[in-house]
Amino acid sequence: MKTAVIVFPGSNCDRDIAVALEAVTGVKPAMVWHGETELPSGLGLIALPGGFSYGDYLRCGAIAARSPVVKAVIEAADKGMPVIGICNGFQVLTETGLLPGALMRNSGLNFVCRDVPLTVDNSQSIFTSGYRSGEQITIPVAHHDGNYFADAETLDRIEGEGRVAFRYAADINGSARNIAGVLNKAGNVLGMMPHPERRIEAAHGGTDGRRLFEGLLEAVA
């Protein structure tokens, strides 16, 4: 499967996700700079990496969400292209409106950087088919602004539609209903604060992250 990683000034997990995608798909991803206006053809997945795009100016992900390449990402997502946003990539996706809600400063004000247990809420999506619903997995987080917020009506709706992909097993940042990862209505866009690309090999301390990409590859093949 051909994949693309979008690179913004200030991205710092772009190489990690590229290594993870190559390990799973066997194909080196295209690294696409934020100023591009077109995406490579024949893609099966677009990844928005973690980091601090544009120095987190204005709001995390706000400037990146208005960059030229993201316009092309939105168009591709609207046509059904699988898109995953991890950490800052999740913040970018909420800023574009592709995903509901917003990510605010962690309730404890601390940068949280550690392994966290997650519960897989919905294993029916293309991104979570490598897991079982209700399963607990361990994936690291590293963020200052991961406190998921949406109004109660939106939270009820996304829960009702099975769009919560992952939850923190215990509160780490104040996120509403412990939400760690959210799907769009069509199920082809996932945003999550934890970093699955950092759990690809046994040497990383586990392979729970690899299963996301393997499940996705199988689901879209």
């Binding site: 208005r66 809600g101 605010m104 400063r105 917020f149 949406a150 109004d151």
Partner: protein
Amino acid sequence: MKLRIIVTLKNGVLDPQGKAIQHALGGLGFDGVEDVRAGKIFELVLADGTSDEAIDEMCRKLLANTVIENYRVEKL
């Protein structure tokens, strides 16, 4: 023309930074600080005749995230 745009968090949105500032004021001995909400101010210089619609669009499309924030425009 000069504008000041004030962006504040909506009611009901928790503001951890505001809470930290509130506690810090308490720590300095200022009693009775019942609540603090942090926000942002933008000062813009725009070409004369820029329409109110365009200004509103700037706020909605970039300066404020209307999922969590309200904005108010003051002409200076």
